[in-house]
Amino acid sequence: MDLASELMSKLDNKISFTIPVFGGIPVPESVVTTWGIMAFLMLMTIIFVRNLKMVPTGPQVYVEAIVGGLNHFFEGILGEEGKRYFPYLGTVALYIGFANVIGIVGLTSPTKDINVTGGLALLSILLIEYSGIHAKRVKGWIKSFSEPMAILLPINILEIFIRPISLCMRLFGNVLGSFVVMELLKYVIPAVIPVPFSFYFDIFDGLIQAYVFVFLTSLFMKEKMEA
């Protein structure tokens, strides 16, 4: 019973501190970690964007490779007309990637909190519907719900709710699942053996999930944008 209660105490989201206004606003740990990731990404951006040259040298080569790779990936799905959404999608990819692998340095991943993944999924569905409205105007967007057949109307409307729930649950479940498996493994064998598993569950799975999240978001956007 000791393991179960220990696991449960690690699963719930701790409150790190309370802002003493309006009777106290609780700030969960996931928000604090998110602020840390935001500060880190911002700092990296400021450091690497200074002194950009036409012919890249040094770290600029790697930064260009990362940004170019992300843009190329989104361009392959969304095409030229989706260029205005690349910065948002790239930012979300970087944030989820960092949030998933941050568990390796001992911090709790923000994506282990279902509220974080729910918020990200909500933003995604808003962007998906917005891209549809922007590409086809309101009339075309409403009409797109009755395609390819009018009988599919209820299913198409249900999709608005199913898609964010499935995006949210996929990310949350994966991060939580790998977390639980890692904790069990550390409980049984505390040394050496968890290292390769940590590489798989923390790094590989975390990056794959970040990739899948933005991949599905951009795929749904493409579907909405198509005439």
Binding site: L11, M169, G173, L176, Y211, L216
Partner: protein, 73 residues
């Protein structure tokens, strides 16, 4: 307590379907890559999408199992 544990165990059985599905998808993808190595980029993309969607069923089972353990004490 025992009944809760059995329920959670049954919920996690969804993993069987996801495992079989991803296995079939991967075998077909490696077959396709060996036939047409130049199309490996597109095949990888489709495989990853299929795996993500197939894996979701296992994840739902896992989330349901966790919810059963947490809320049905």
């Amino acid at each position: 307590m025992i009944v809760t544990a059995i329920g959670a165990g049954i919920a996690v059985l969804t993993g069987i379907g996801a495992g079989i599905g991803i296995g079939i998808a991967t075998s077909k993808a490696s077959e396709a890559i060996s036939r047409q190595p130049e199309a490996s980029g597109d095949i990888n993309k489709a495989l990853l999408l299929g795996c993500a969607l197939a894996e979701a069923t296992a994840i739902y089972g896992f989330v349901v199992a966790i919810l059963i353990i947490l809320f049905l004490k």
